[in-house]
């Protein structure tokens, strides 16, 4: 017996109808919208109806009115537990900015900047609403709320944003969850932007512009300033036999712990050595000085990968109360077990 395509496919279920139907509905929506709009418009940004199809997915389950739902409440809703330490509350900033449009008003209710990621809860409120939204209001494209949102060309997709006047393009920074708010005509939206992984390290307080309405390059932005302490991080460089490892940034906060690493193989390193080195660091652990595991990794993003030569890894870990925190690569030891290599460990604080 061999591992061939036919046998592999026997190990997977057939595409179920629920998936086929959803895909066809989505494609039909795209075709409908494309037929209505001039090409340039939908090439740049989704129309309201298609966007709201996505929002409808996000809004599933957001039926109960949320009282003062904040960043950590959204994290808890999405992940089961926010995973932050109690002192994370000190990072919460409220009512940072608003944008009043003809039919709706957007407000930055809460923001948390933890040195690596900017978490934002903002509200979209129908100006003339006289009652809290219902689930139907949030999902029905003909509801007064959705018509108001459409009239103002409000959208929840952000594939770009500005920090201190510089525009950055980044996918995956759109609204990731929504919740019906307690106020009349109010929908709460949560998004997070992983600034550190994009190399954005503000030096002190910084201004953010989110293009939340408009299109075709003519956006209306939700502007706000976030308080941040400047980072005094100095890169830590580790030279080994076959590579240079530079800890380019590290942020230890009660919300999350972030580290960004650059791996550069020496010119005479073999492809196998490069693979093993990359692999060791891709499986890195957050440990104490004795090599004991402290907290789990929640995300690893490889960037700027040059085959066999270099890579940037951006790590995100859950927070820990430990005073000494190290990032250490792992390897398979002589017993065939995964082990932490403290000889190459890098201090994060």
């Amino acid at each position: 017996m061999t591992l061939n395509q036919q046998r592999m496919r026997e190990a997977y279920p057939q595409t179920p109808d629920v998936v086929r139907i959803r895909m066809e509905q989505t494609l039909a929506g795209i075709r409908r919208e494309a037929a209505k709009q001039p090409p340039r418009r939908y090439a740049r940004r989704l129309s309201f109806a298609v966007t709201m199809a996505l929002v409808t997915v996000l809004a599933v389950g957001a039926v109960a009115a949320g009282a003062h739902f904040g960043v950590f409440d959204f994290m808890k809703k999405m992940f089961g537990a926010s995973g932050v330490l109690p002192e994370a509350e000190e990072l919460v900033q409220q009512n940072l900015g608003s944008l009043k449009l003809e039919h709706t008003t957007l407000n930055v209710d809460e923001a948390v900047y933890d040195g690596g990621t900017l978490h934002v809860v903002y509200s979209i409120t129908q100006n003339d609403a006289d009652a809290p939204l219902t689930e139907q209001d949030a999902e029905d494209s003909q509801s007064a709320f959705q018509l108001a949102v459409a009239a103002d060309a409000v959208h929840m997709e952000c594939d770009s944003f500005w920090v201190n006047g510089t525009e950055y393009c980044m996918t995956n920074c759109s609204t990731v969850d929504t919740m019906i708010g307690e106020n009349d005509g109010e929908l709460l939206c949560y998004l997070d932007i992983q600034l550190a992984s994009a190399g954005i390290v503000p030096d002190g307080d910084f201004t953010v512009k989110l293009p939340v309405a408009g299109g075709n390059g003519d956006y209306q932005t939700l502007d706000f300033t976030v308080q941040a302490s400047g980072s005094d991080w100095q890169p830590v460089v580790l030279y080994s036999d076959n590579a240079t490892v530079t800890l380019t940034s590290a942020f230890v906060s009660p919300v999350r712990i972030y580290a960004t690493l650059r791996l550069e193989m020496n010119a005479d390193a073999s492809a196998q050595e490069a693979d093993e080195t990359f692999e060791d660091w891709a499986e890195a652990e957050l440990v104490d000085a004795q090599g004991n595991r402290l907290a789990g990794m929640t995300e690893l993003m490889p960037e700027n990968l040059v085959d066999g030569e270099s890579v940037d890894y951006s790590y995100t870990f859950l927070p820990t109360e430990a005073e000494e925190v190290y990032l250490a690569p792992t390897f398979i030891n002589e017993q065939g077990e995964w082990a932490v290599d403290m000889t190459r460990a890098l201090p994060l604080q």
Binding site: L3, A11, Y12, P13, T15, V50, T51, L58, E279, L305
Partner: protein, 155 residues
């Protein structure tokens, strides 16, 4: 590529896209959400696809991203990267269970290469990993599958 061509290409790759999403999510309802999200995101960003010949790997990357977004949203993924997942009902149940027992880092390259017929280079592009790492992961994945199935002839 206009909306009709986009629909046609997506429909041709429907099963492939589902299997990729399923490799990450192992849940049909989540796969439906992830694929809807991926189609919308792909359509919006179609102008960034310079080479239409690369559509399959480009689309695969988007499906993986959207599937991982779903995991983030719904907490199906714990902080443990190597969490085990339940095997789906399948014609080859032992292999299904062996694949399900693999960590995602090995499951994805195995799926993309052996099931979808992507080359090592293409898998490397989709997963943003060096080709050598992909080869290593394929080797390790096959070794684990063989160990699980106790069928040494597989490798």
């Amino acid at each position: 590529m206009d909306e009709q061509a986009f629909s046609t290409v997506v429909q041709q790759q429907e099963d492939t896209l589902y299997r990729i999403a399923f490799t990450v999510l192992h849940n049909d309802a989540d796969c439906a959400d992830a694929l809807q999200d991926a189609l919308l995101r792909a359509w919006r960003r179609l102008d960034t696809l310079k080479d239409e010949q690369a559509f399959r790997s480009w689309m695969a990357r988007i499906v993986i991203n959207c599937s991982r977004d779903i995991l983030r949203r719904r907490r199906l993924r714990t902080v443990e990267l190597d969490e085990t997942i339940a095997a789906p009902p399948a014609n080859d149940q032992p292999l299904a269970e062996a694949i399900a027992a693999l960590p995602e880092g090995l499951r994805l390259p195995i799926t993309l290469h052996y099931m979808e017929g992507m080359s090592v280079k293409e898998v490397a592009q989709v997963m943003r990993l060096p080709q050598g790492t992909v080869k290593n992961r394929l080797f390790r994945g096959r070794a684990r599958l063989a160990a699980f199935l106790q069928e040494e002839e597989m490798i």
